[in-house]
Subunit: 150 residues, 2 copies
DNA sequence: TATTGTTATACTCTATAACTATA
DNA sequence: TATAGTTATAGAGTATAACAATA
């Protein structure tokens, strides 16, 4: 596989590429999510702790909006994570109606471990590729990020 | 962005690329799955009809194994899809213990529509890219398929 | 006796509606 | 009156264990 050939083998229509890419992305995503941390969190649970790790403390309402789920569902998930000791709930400093959800050290550790395991798995596969192939995926990563946020 | 630059900007470690790629893949997959057909099937439900569309009639046991879920869960999902008229259950011709699940015309239509909507969404994003960028994603699709199945 | 599928039971995730507390 | 969060209720998805029918 080389660059000249890559261009010449490009599908005639973006529709054909879309179908190929959709299947490839879906399968890869599914495989990546298989790798989990010690707490064995479900996807919704991990999404919450990962979001808190990225953005810092958030209210249940903000978490629900970010995850595109209804507020009661987030109430439940936050409660389960709190029972596990991965997040902590605290009163809002000025607004008595609001609650602030914070990641505990155990929660941070779970996020780090899960990400590490997923990266280790993926890096293990990338090691089997040529430098040129890795360069393709490096470019693809940037393109996919642009696509997903548009 | 050109090929020479692509190679030179490759991360020094596969770990860094793995982290970038993991995030990019996960976000893209999530966005793609947002596009659904008229029946508004859940992910597990759509996975079943999509699998039947690809492989033809299958038994509940085969479906459960392919989806990596326990048999009772598949019994439930197949039952719901049958209630919706998207699949049909029939006796196995020679083995009285087994059941053969078949996609109905309505089920086929739902699969086609969902795939079409996802591909239309993705193709719309791909149209905004250069031919070279699409070539990168074409190569990446092949690489991701290899990675996911390894 | 082994296999296929289902039923029974329990827990997570989700939604909408109703409720409580605060602004 | 409006907002933030929770509780109540219901349905989907999953698992393990127990069961029925067939091989």
């Amino acid at each position: 596989m080389n660059y000249v050939k890559d261009v010449t083998t490009t599908p005639a229509t973006t529709g054909a590429l879309a179908a190929e890419l959709r299947v490839a992305i879906s399968r890869a995503a599914r495989r990546i999510k298989n790798e989990r941390g010690d707490a064995g969190l479900s996807d919704p649970q991990f999404n919450v702790v990962a979001l808190l790790d990225l953005h810092g403390p958030m209210t249940p309402g903000q978490l629900a909006e970010a995850e595109h789920i209804a507020a009661p569902a987030m109430t439940r998930t936050v409660g389960l994570l709190a029972d596990l000791g991965l997040v902590a709930k605290a009163d809002h400093p000025t607004d008595g109606r609001q609650v602030v959800v914070t990641l505990t050290p155990a929660g941070e550790a779970e996020v780090r471990q899960t990400r590490l395991r997923r990266d280790v798995w993926l890096a293990g596969r990338l090691d089997g590729l040529t430098p040129q192939e890795r360069a393709v995926l490096e470019d693809a990563a940037q393109l996919l990020r642009r696509i997903a946020t548009s």
